[in-house]
Amino acid sequence: MRDIAVVSFAQSDHVRRVDDRNEVEMIMPVVAEALSGAGMTMDDIGFTCSGSTDYLAGQAFSFVMTLDGVGPWPPIQESHVEMDGAWALYEAWVKLQLGEIDAALVYCYAKSSPGDLPMVLTRQLDPYVVGPLWPDAVSLAALQARALLDGGSVTEADMAEVAARSRSAALDNPHAHLRWDRPAALLLDEPYLVAPLRRHDCPPISDGVAAMVLAGDDVARAHAERPAWIRGIDHRIEPMALGVRDLTTSASTRRAADHAGAHDGTIEVAELHAPFTHQELILREALDLDDSVVVNPSGGPLAANPMMTAGLIRIGEVATRIHGGQHARGLAHATSGPCLQQNLVCVLEGDDR
């Protein structure tokens, strides 16, 4: 495969509610920051791909207006996925593999604040037999957590440790939405939100956007001091129905990681798209991550969870740490659908491993 790298990444500050700007206004400065970080303008970009969903924007064809934010004139090569930006990156990576263009722009965004997110996400479920019951996203995650706890391999204290570590890591992340420093032991005194999940086990609801520039081969080297090379990327899906899959493991993550070559080298850092604490524990097991791996140094989705965006941010956070030389090899993960239904794994490396 052709060598493709993340050469720059930018994200907004993620907050509970952005009232004073629409999506186009949120995206423009972040796209500009990603382009300038790569020393590029739109004229250098051969392909643009975005990820978003109409269900959060509250209008059909919402991405059409957002595209105006990048100034697609004269006409550009462009596509859009109704998926997290991590999959927009995947499409751009495929396009770059064809060798006809050298740089691509990826961006993604969501404002969850205008609606009731856990209820909006019920519209994602099987519309004939599950959707009419309106099971909200937190309750479905709680079912998964209960199954995991019943298995006996993890405890509520383990989940609280994930919460405490993530929120305290976020103290160093200026873009994070939710940060605090409290010992895990005290968290178990809190009441359940939806048993066995406590409030700290759940992600914040965030508005936010992200953008990234990818480039191939020498163009990547010319536009980044230390490009973050995509050594492998793969994504896999499972059935949606909760009754036909094992909720306590993530077979699709394991499979994607194998196809992405995750275990061909040492994983130093991993950014996992685990919106709920117990999901990090499931993913660690599926990815065979031991305690030597730095997991979610950004705070992860438990610290900032803009929909359609939190997956691409994981890739951006690993890339940023490779750009900066803190790590030589890392893994980023993105998820979609209820209870980790669909999963993407991306392996990134710096030049001087």
Partner: protein, 389 residues
Amino acid sequence: MTKERVAVVGVGQTHHQATRGDVSMAGLVREAAQRALADAAMTWSDIEAVVVGKAPDFFEGVMMPELYLADALGAVGKPLFRVHTAGSVGGSTALVATQLVEAGIHERVLTVAFEKQSESEAMWALSLPIPFQPPMHAGAGGYFAPHIRSYMRRAAAPDHIGILVALKDRGNALANPYAHLHDHEITFDSIKESLMLWDPIRYAETCPSSDGACAMVLGSEAVGDAAAAAGNAPAWVHGTAMRSEPTMSADRDPVLPQGGRDCALDVYRQAGITDPRRQVDCVEMYVPFSWFEPMWLENLGFAAPGDGWRMVEDGVTAMDGDLPVNMSGGVLCSNPIGASGMLRFAEVALQVRGKAGEHQVDGARIGVGHAYGGGSQFFAMWVVGAAKP
């Protein structure tokens, strides 16, 4: 690097209707996918990845429905990808699937596009959203009518051209068993006398709202060769292109959009086409309102600007003309929006494979498939041929 050659080895579609109340969304997509697999002499387990496309999720009231459709589409354990590029999505979905094979990532990819518009009210979904924008029109026809009016003025086109296109496409659909509209009684006068919906667009010059799906199996060169050896001639992809332009730009000409022209020039260059009018045997283009046939004939380089309507009037685009257009009846006769672009791509693939049945163009070797979306701002095209490129 060299791209892998791509072959279309299987094509399937549903019977398109206003309401396919006999099937769920899963049943609808499986109907098309199973026909494509049968055509390719494959089963679900032969497929390595699935690429799904559809227009806005509000049409069915399901957010990202491909997640719920994962098992119905045989995608469990595989990559499942969802594209949404407005009305061009059926075309761009096929192109994303094509790239997976071109890049050497997969050998056999199933691509499916659908819309089940009876689940909602497409006309209002296609209207400017209140309260975000002023309610200036109802339905896509209200948006495009001024573009058509402008075309008629600029090209000095006579009023009856749109009627001729509608008469031709509705006639072509009579030979297509999958088409939604089969109007045996239609005449020039019945179209002319039909209700004026969005002047100059009459009711009978407008696409229907359909439930339907389309699917294709795309394969690598080895897969295409194997199909050919087994007597199932594939269509070979000779070129692919996409272009997008902004909604709000003073530079835009929505009547003759630069994005559409750039897209056509790009795909012809890849396919080695220098004189599309002579070298292309048949075209399936995205014509939701009759007048878009002459407009796109000009935009895609089949006629000089201002002359597209003359090709219609001279019968060039009829089944027995030099350059048949929308042999299947086109969008004017079946419009499950998310699938409409892929249906164009699939129909030209059927033509160059010699498998278009009663609406086959004799000896078709090179076909052009075209889709557009948004406010005439998103374009997807491919050129397919009977011979390997």
